[in-house]
Amino acid sequence: MAKSKLVKPFRYFGYLLLVTVFQLLSFVQVMTKIEEDNAQYVAIFLSFLLIEWFYVFIMRSLLKQKSFELELIAFFLSGIGLSLIATVSLDYAMKQLIYILAGVLLFLVMRWLIANSDRVTLLRLPAAVIAAAALAFNLVAAQDYNGAKNWVQIGSFSIQPSEFVKIAFIFVGAATLDKLQTTKSVFKYLVFAAGCIGALFLMRDFGTALIFFATFLIIAYMRSGDWKTIAVICVAAVLGAILIISFKSTVAARFATYRHIWDTPYEEGMQQTRVLIYSASGGLFGVGLGNGRLRDVYAETTDLIFGMVCEEYGLLVGFIVILAFAAILVYTIASAKSARTSFYVIAACSAAGLLIVQTSLNVFGVTDLLPWTGVTLPFVSRGGSSMMSCWALLAFIKSVDPRAYPKTLRETQITG
């Protein structure tokens, strides 16, 4: 008679094992290619596995969490990145491992912070102030790096404040339903967003500015539900972009090679032409880790890492990586209905939208389908700020999963 509402828990252990097997196979293959200190590589790899297993163990045994799908996808992507980076440099791999650990810790902190909707409301203003201060500091203290002023050197580490501002950008933009009904205008948020995007233009970080703009559109639409306002903003933005490109030669130069990379295969179009050639030469199944030739091209583990994935792991794995991001977005939209408050719906949808926009700019940028803006591939590319912000964004997406609610809320909300 009665349908059982008991939901079978996700067989996380089996999938964790599969992820580990994938990573072990990568590890063995990389091991044969490394000419440097093998012991250091073993330590890096085992530490990564330890982080992965320890996270699942702690969350399962102490917090009784049953769902690990999103984290497993993130660990899977991070593992692919780490393996490819290790074939290039062990120092880079070591740093990347630290960044992954920092990212996981930030993910946990973010989950705790946003678990309480009252705390979220209190933190929105401080988050906006901190974001504005970080961008102002960036403008003053940043050094010029590859034409963009978005890196700040602190000791031996360089950080990209705009990556962390992404978190605040979503945090400030999302709001609970009662706030949305009483404050129907998005003017205040428009001013905040314009400030952030304007600062990014001054830094000449156009890729990140584009990501922020796309995220702003998602948030503005979800807050107002008004297509007309969004259309007006888009038209204004396109006109503004045309003006900037027309009058600022440095900006125009960035887009000059778009659709013309084969005109200058040894100059401006060198990296993208190499990505296309080597990705194709990798075929469906790749040439094997450490056997690729893209590793000799500048920015191989940052902007071009998708090319490395396609060349060394194969086009099929490259396609699955893109599929993973698309699946996260679709899942987030499908789960929005069961989210606790509008804050979580807006935050999760914009975080997932941000990740997919960033992935598209990276993948289609290096393959010359879109202008190349030099953004990283989430979870895979080398870079601390990017890795940490991606994990923090994942916390927003995780917040719409009813199985990941704090234990006290789970008891009253969920059957099964």
Partner: protein, 233 residues
């Protein structure tokens, strides 16, 4: 080692596909169902409106979760929001305001089980008897439904349930004689009520009921020919 390298590249896409496909499948199909823990009962008509979400918008606009089509109700009148241990009602700048037990509220107010909430001139009773602090819980007597034919049971561990042939019903009955939404059960004022939603009605102790009826322990419901006993645990 060369042999390993030659073959392992075929394993990577297979493993990657299984991992991503498995995780995605689980994300979509292993989501738990939320149960309704509160609802609003129209004081005049007795109609129960379940609060399915943590935040529910109430107003005259069709985009609200609960549409109150009365001239004294604003388009976006109110939001009822669930917090960790309580429910909160917000007046979202409505013209006629909200009264809670006869007192106008300013901006927001906590809601308790049995509170009378008036939106403009429409009054609803807020019902969330099994929600809140642990000491407050247990007000709802534990009842269950038992199939007379096969003994299968379904615990009524919330305050609002739907029975029918539709897959999203709380109690799913795959019989051609059962309507997609046949019966609604809800707990209010210390009593469980059954509301018929079908064309054919519901038999309660062999008497056909076409509207609403208070249930007692031991009552036998006839839903499209299937007999179900309502009993206290």
């Amino acid at each position: 080692m060369e042999l390993f390298e030659e073959y392992v590249r075929f394993v990577f896409p297979v493993l990657a596909f299984i991992i991503i496909f498995g995780c995605v499948l689980s994300l979509f199909y292993k989501r738990p169902k939320a149960k309704t823990v509160a609802f609003l009962v129209n004081e005049q008509s007795g109609e129960a409106v379940p609060l399915h979400y943590w935040e529910t918008s109430i107003g005259r606009s069709q985009s609200c979760d609960i549409v109150l089509n009365y001239p004294t109700v604003s388009r976006f009148h109110s939001v009822v929001s669930r917090r960790k241990n309580t429910w909160v009602i917000f007046d979202t700048d409505s013209k006629t305001g909200i009264s809670l037990n006869g007192q106008k509220i300013k901006k927001k107010e906590h809601l308790s089980d049995g509170d009378r909430v008036t939106f403009g001139e429409v009054t609803y009773i807020f019902s969330a008897p099994d929600f809140g602090d642990k000491k407050e819980k247990g007000k709802v007597p534990q009842y269950r439904l038992v199939s007379v034919s096969n003994g299968k049971t379904f615990a009524l561990d919330g305050v609002f349930f739907t029975i029918g042939r539709a897959h999203d019903c709380d109690v799913f009955m795959n019989l051609p004689t059962v309507s997609r939404r046949h019966v609604e059960l809800h707990f209010a004022d210390g009593k469980w009520r059954m509301k018929n939603l079908s064309q054919n009605g519901v038999g309660v102790n062999s008497r056909l009921c076409m509207n609403e009826k208070v249930l007692k322990s031991g009552d036998i419901l006839d839903i499209g020919g299937a007999k179900i006993r309502f009993e206290q645990i």
